[in-house]
Symmetry: C2
Subunit: 885 residues, 2 copies
């Protein structure tokens, strides 16, 4: 088909979204889809991407066919929206936006309010009844157009604005009057004329052609070119241009702007939910400057709020909005988050997208949509982002615990959290990196606070509603959030937070409850979440479709219980060194490490044996016959070394060695790079008696367990088959001794972590000895990428920012690098031993994207922290469904 030079949408235009993103650009395709669905989007037209190439082929000229077609496109908009482009009485204004196939945020130019000139600004002033707004819009348009189209430095205009404010003795733009704005317009126009030697173009059509050319031109701007090169986006894709009618919610008392959700994003309840402001612009709602009103009467009454609801203020438009909800959910088959504007009694939908929601709401919506027949069971399973379950699985405040409420705000994101007050993002990150729990306390948040919000356990803001930046982002992250706690005041200079009665310093501990909106002094005890209702339903559906088993990383009886409660089907990683930090044992462990003679070490090991045996017995009894993978001692021994003088004193008494000797031995054990040092099976190779003691403890406990357990003994940090051979000899010898003495045997496996690149490469021969592999992707990531997790804070943020890694590789498996090694090891291992059991026990075992990857490799199980087990169950089901699709 011949290219159309412009593709209209909205009004009575034919559906055009089938032309797709490559032709219409991402933004254009979305608008066309909304229009085709019957939603009242402000009308407009799209200039498709091929025109961009034609523009460059013509040496930076708009193709004549396009210039000729523009009046037709404008006529389509005028017919649909009323008003006329360039008409002084009822002017139509348009936006001109870029839109490439893929989003290139901030890389190309946009012009808003195009069509304003000396005549039309008067029409806008009259129709809005707001002269200041009209001239402020004109002023902004001149500056934007001069910058984008005419290539003038925006500082020229900002200087004029500052001078005006100085003249008027005010600090804020908002303090300038209509007359001031009008005067500024005059100055801006003079600035343009002086700089260019010709006047600012007052012909709206000339403005439009200029803006379209400038958007095309911005495709090859330096920053866009660099961005494309770095992101490997082809130069010849070009950008589409979308020209769309501007609509205004501030044209009087019959105008309004608002946001709405088709279901309650906090609870999932099927009810109209949202906020609006009469005679306001969209940015007023989002910025939280005016307090928005409720949409429905019932919501207003429930909240005991003063302002009239939209249902009461604009019953007709409200009814129209309500009727769109069913249409939206039928079309998009999910809860929608919409932005709307009412201009002079007419409803326009500016945007619709899948709505963010709390975990609780996600579950309820998925389950109820199945009940409603909107979606199927597998779709419900696939629909819920496993990450949001996190919110449901963390403890909530113990209702019986005493609490001193010091402030209240909106329950913006559910869950409770305690931590030290921090007043900015940098401090949040700094303290969190040191392992401190922090609560980010801000007047309001902005995108620059994202990293700090992520680092914090919870967020508290003084301003902003349920749809403020803080609230939306916190819900997405699963962080508890209390927003709009109006009684708190932040003194950034003195680093203090004032509430009514208290003054708290940065670092003081508070607790926030994002489910109630309360803020409390100190740390409040918590209780376990309830795991029934929609959660149980969805997990049951998920388990039906899951292929991989889900195990937990746990070594305490308490964690084992949590793991089973959350549905873990075994222990994938019990870290024996965690059992060694117990204060009652650390002296024995230190004696073992610092022993100079085999006999000294043997004595310490003999005392550790019954303690380890008791540890394992508890785990086996808790897991009642489920498989338990026990990793023999792994960490660098110096982690156990005495730190304080007192430690040395105690140790000297216990061991009979002098403090000086102990210090010298400890000094010998210190390492430059402990992560790559004397740890893992290297300990077993140099001191086989340690692994021998641990193996003996495992087998003795196994024979004593109530239900016969299935121990899987895991040798860490293997790089060669021979290490495993040597260590398996030690384990098997212990088994023979214990079983021989008891006259009874038990099945067990000996396997290895695959956590070094060499182990992955040599997996074929290692599998000749190993009966299972567990991918230790934390360490494998460290060595494959050469990044120490402990030290990555110095540069990893910059790496994520610059897109070097798309996500933190310690959170989501680096599929291209580490993933290839995992794939290769799985393949080579199973070539040698077809039934080799394969699992993953790094942090990635609880990360949905990583789970999807290992599903593709046919792993038998994933293992993650007990709290993440439900996430892993759901993610594994989704991965299995996606693989089957």
């Amino acid at each position: 088909m011949p290219h159309r030079v412009l593709v209209p949408f909205g009004g009575n235009a034919a559906p055009a979204h089938w032309l797709g993103k490559n032709h219409l650009g991402g933004k254009g395709a979305n608008l066309a889809e909304m229009a085709a669905t019957g939603l009242p989007v402000p009308p407009g037209f799209i200039i498709p991407t091929p025109l961009c190439s034609q523009y460059y082929e013509a040496g930076g000229q708009l193709p004549s066919a396009l210039v000729e077609a523009l009046p037709e496109g404008l006529a389509h908009i005028e017919a649909a929206v009323g008003g006329r482009f360039g008409d002084a009485a009822n002017p139509l204004l348009v936006s001109v936006r870029s839109g490439a196939r893929v989003s290139m945020p901030g890389m190309m130019d946009t012009v808003l309010n195009l069509g304003l000139n000396r005549d039309t600004v008067e029409g806008l002033a009259r129709r809005s009844g707001n002269r200041r707004f009209a001239f402020d819009s004109f002023r902004r348009f001149i500056q934007m157009y001069a910058d984008v189209v005419l290539g003038l430095d925006h500082y020229l205009f900002e200087d004029a604005l500052e001078l005006m404010k100085d003249d008027r003795g005010v600090h804020l733009d908002t303090a300038l009057s209509a007359d001031d704005m009008e005067a500024l317009v005059g100055q801006y126009l003079a600035i343009v004329e002086e700089a260019l030697g010709r006047p600012f173009p007052m012909d709206p059509l000339e403005q439009l052609q200029g803006a379209i050319g400038a958007v095309f031109g911005s495709w090859r701007s330096e920053r866009a070119t660099v961005y494309r090169r770095l992101n490997h986006i082809p130069e010849d894709w070009g950008t589409a241009v979308t020209v769309q009618a501007m609509v205004f919610g501030n044209m009087g008392e019959d105008s309004a702007t608002g946001v709405a959700f088709t279901r309650d994003p906090a609870t999932g309840e099927r009810a109209i939910y949202g906020e609006f402001l009469v005679n306001a612009q969209g940015e007023d709602v989002v910025a939280g400057i005016r307090t928005p009103q409720y949409l429905t009467k019932s919501a207003r009454e429930r909240a005991g709020a003063a302002g009239v609801s939209m249902e009461e203020a604009m019953p007709g438009v409200f009814a129209e909005l309500a009727s769109l909800f069913a249409l939206l959910e039928r079309h998009y088959r999910d809860m929608q988050d919409i932005e709307f504007t009412v201009q002079e009694g007419r409803l326009w939908l500016l945007q619709t997208r899948t709505g963010k929601r709390t975990g609780k709401a996600a579950l309820r919506i998925a389950c109820e949509m199945v009940d409603e027949g909107l979606i199927g069971e597998t779709e419900a399973v696939q629909r819920v982002d496993p990450a949001v379950l996190d919110q449901l699985l963390h403890p909530t405040l113990d209702p019986a615990a005493p609490r001193e409420v010091i402030a209240s705000g909106l329950p913006a994101s559910p869950g409770a959290a305690s931590g030290a007050i921090v007043l900015d993002s940098q401090e949040a990150e700094r303290r969190a990196a040191l392992g401190e729990a922090v609560i980010l306390v801000r007047a309001e948040t902005s995108p620059e606070d994202i990293a700090g919000m992520h680092a914090a356990r919870g967020i508290l803001t003084a301003r902003g509603g349920m749809t403020s930046h803080a609230a939306v982002v916190a819900r997405g992250m699963g962080r508890p959030c209390v927003s709009g706690a109006g009684t708190i005041r932040i003194d950034a200079a003195e680093r203090l937070v004032h509430t009514g009665r208290h003054t708290l310093s940065e670092g003081a501990i508070i607790t926030i409850d994002g489910t109630t909106g309360q803020v409390m002094l100190g740390e409040i005890p918590t209780v376990e979440p309830e795991l029934s209702g929609h959660f149980a339903t969805l997990m049951e559906w998920a388990d039906r479709h899951r292929r991989m088993k889900v195990r937990a990383n746990a070594e305490t009886p308490a964690d084992c219980r949590v793991a089973r409660q959350f549905g873990a089907e075994g222990i994938g990683l019990a870290r024996t060194e965690h059992m060694f930090f117990d204060p009652g044992r650390i002296v024995l462990v230190r004696r073992m490490i610092l022993a100079q003679e085999p006999a000294e070490r043997a004595a310490a090991l003999a005392q550790l044996l019954p303690l380890q045996r008791a540890d394992f017995l508890e785990i086996f009894n808790e897991m009642a016959g489920l498989p338990v993978t026990i990793r023999l001692l792994d960490p660098p021994l110096h982690e156990f070394l005495p730190q304080r003088e007192q430690d040395y004193q105690e140790l000297a008494e216990a061991s009979g060695l002098s403090v000086a000797t102990l210090r010298r031995r400890a000094e010998e054990l210190r390492e430059m790079n402990p992560m790559l040092g004397h740890r893992g099976c290297r300990l077993g190779v140099t001191s086989p008696d340690i692994y021998g003691m641990q193996a003996r403890a495992i087998f003795e406990a196994a024979l004593a367990a109530r239900t016969p357990p299935f121990p899987e003994i895991m040798i860490p940090l293997v790089a060669t088959r021979r290490e495993l051979d040597l260590m398996k000899t030690v384990v098997d010898a212990a088994a023979e001794e214990v079983f021989g003495a008891a006259g009874r045997r038990l099945d067990y496996l000996v396997g290895t972590m695959i956590e070094l690149p060499r182990a992955a490469l040599r997996a074929g021969e290692i599998a000749a000895t190993a009966e299972f592999f567990s991918f230790g992707t934390n360490d494998l990531t460290q060595t494959t990428l050469g990044i120490s997790r402990d030290d990555s804070a110095h540069f990893l943020a910059a790496y994520l920012e610059q897109g070097i890694y798309p996500r933190d590789p310690f959170v989501t498996l680096d599929v291209d690098g580490v993933g290839e090694l995992v794939e290769l090891a799985a393949r080579r291992g199973r070539e040698t031993r077809p039934l080799l059991k394969l699992g993953i026990c790094g942090e990635h075992g609880g990360d949905p994207a990583s789970i999807a990857f290992v599903e593709g490799l046919g792993l038998d199980y994933v293992s993650c922290s007990p709290w993440r087990v439900p996430i892993a169950r759901l993610a594994a089901a989704q991965a299995a469904l996606a693989r089957a699709a």
Copy 2:
């Protein structure tokens, strides 16, 4: 063909070596080859490996065919050697040894002097004229046989020996008389009879059958079984058994024992060389207990030695020995090291093997053998072990330097070395690990000293000749050695070394010259080696056959000069950080690192720029147009951090920041695992201005160089293509600026180190940007194996001992692990960019085995330390020849 149950060799037996090692075992095949060559080996017969399986199939019984054949085998020996098995007048004694296809050192049993009984011992006593020797031999035989064949604990016999020494009031076995030995024999026989309830077998044939069965049985001993399992040697291979006549060099004045080389192993001169002792056993020569005599009259005279030479003492046998030399070299086509025994005027060759030699000798022998037509030019190139060149390439003592000689010994291994005196191997290793140069000083060395000798710069012994353990091993290692410096005395208790006039403590600095045998006080200056003569001839031949280029790792003008002198064809790695440690610069570098504001850093960088430019200019001028690969800043910044209070003071003055601020900043930069921390291109990503300054300095220097250079700019520690993209942008921008300002351009390349597993895996996409790869195998080994080189000392020795790695993976590339990544990266890189330039610049670039490996991958060049360039040239030639073969 049907299996023969025994395969005779020596005497008039038919050649049998063609049956091969699998059938005859390694030891048997060697003896058969010697016999077939016409060398007078003591005759014997081999029981082939299939008989071992038959032994086990028969439930541990000797196959009857074998038992029936034994008299025939013995008859063959008797005919060849004279004497009869079991004959009281002229008894034949035999050894019975195991011999598997591959060497299993110490794993299986051996019985010597078999055939002794109450009658034959008298014959031995008479014929040797040494009753004490005969009964001592019998005593030892009884103990060995009882242990190996009869399964008695050897402590039983040692207790009897100790009692006897106590009774006689002596400490050494050698102080016991013939009568004492005879009495001991009686006691030993009684011990056996009491323990077994039956007498010691006195029938030599019964003894022989027992010993053969015991050797077969030792194949399945526990330690041999474990050894095979760990080394993956099949159980069903079995062992052969070799029965061979014993010959004795201590049967009177017409008997002797000695060692000889077909050429002088120190100089390579074609002359009879060696030592012998009249009326002695072989162990007397090797142990260095008696001082051996020269073989030739001329050597004796040259040395001014007292004892008569073999040429003079036994002219007939000497002539026979001399005539064998040509035969040996024609057959083995290399210099041979032989052990011989003269029994009652008859010459026997016990062993011949390719002789160890000094580097100088290796070159001369290879070159002269080509001249003699014995071998061809390519064979000469392949023949010389590149590692031995090392000895020739290190400095020798400056002849003009004053020196105080404090002792003299034999010039046992050439070269000079200075270092601190250490008195044992442990201390040598400990101090060497700390970077200290040490000289190992011992009375004599034994195999337990190997590690210490390796750690030492040189070895000095008080006892032992030119063929003592110390001398042989030191020559093999290329370590200077002075042996038999008889005036020194070691006080191990007080840790002192006494010479005639001096008493030196452990730790005192001495210099030894292994070329002259002198020992000097303190450190003596050295001079460069001469690189002409045989060395130049061989290098010329090598270069004709070499495919890969050889470059050097160097960044100082002095090193660049050495590199060119040694034949380097470019610089493969100039480490820019090495230029930063200069005392005049370190303050600037520290200011740069600790800068808090971009402006502060910019100021420090501006001062560093001219210094870096001068560095590069020197290198470019020195290398005169050859390619120079410059690596941008790589190490963890904290390596540059101030250490001492004074450093902080200086820095505070220079930067205007307070010491407290500087300390805080420095603390922030400390890392847990600096090897995996904020280093390499991560510095460039977070502070692009550093790399920008370095690139600018390179380009400015390049334009100023006398000969236009060819800079190859290398970005370190890349793991992703994007890092390289970002850094190439910085480098290219600097180039454009410099070239634009100068109005002149130069060609250059931008490439990357491949030193992380991820980089190897993603080499395909990285090569889309990289114009060359240089394999940084030091770091790649650290990350692939997960071993920090700094910390590996704690366990790597144990790893090598237990065969987990066959060789130190930081010296010789781990082909199975790291090698696969190198291979994969080379392949993927060239799939993207077929002409991608590939090199290696880790330590492995100078290691012959590793060079052979990368030749197979088609790398373009290797780069190594300047001193190793000749080694690399030779190794690369050998690799190319081996690949072509």
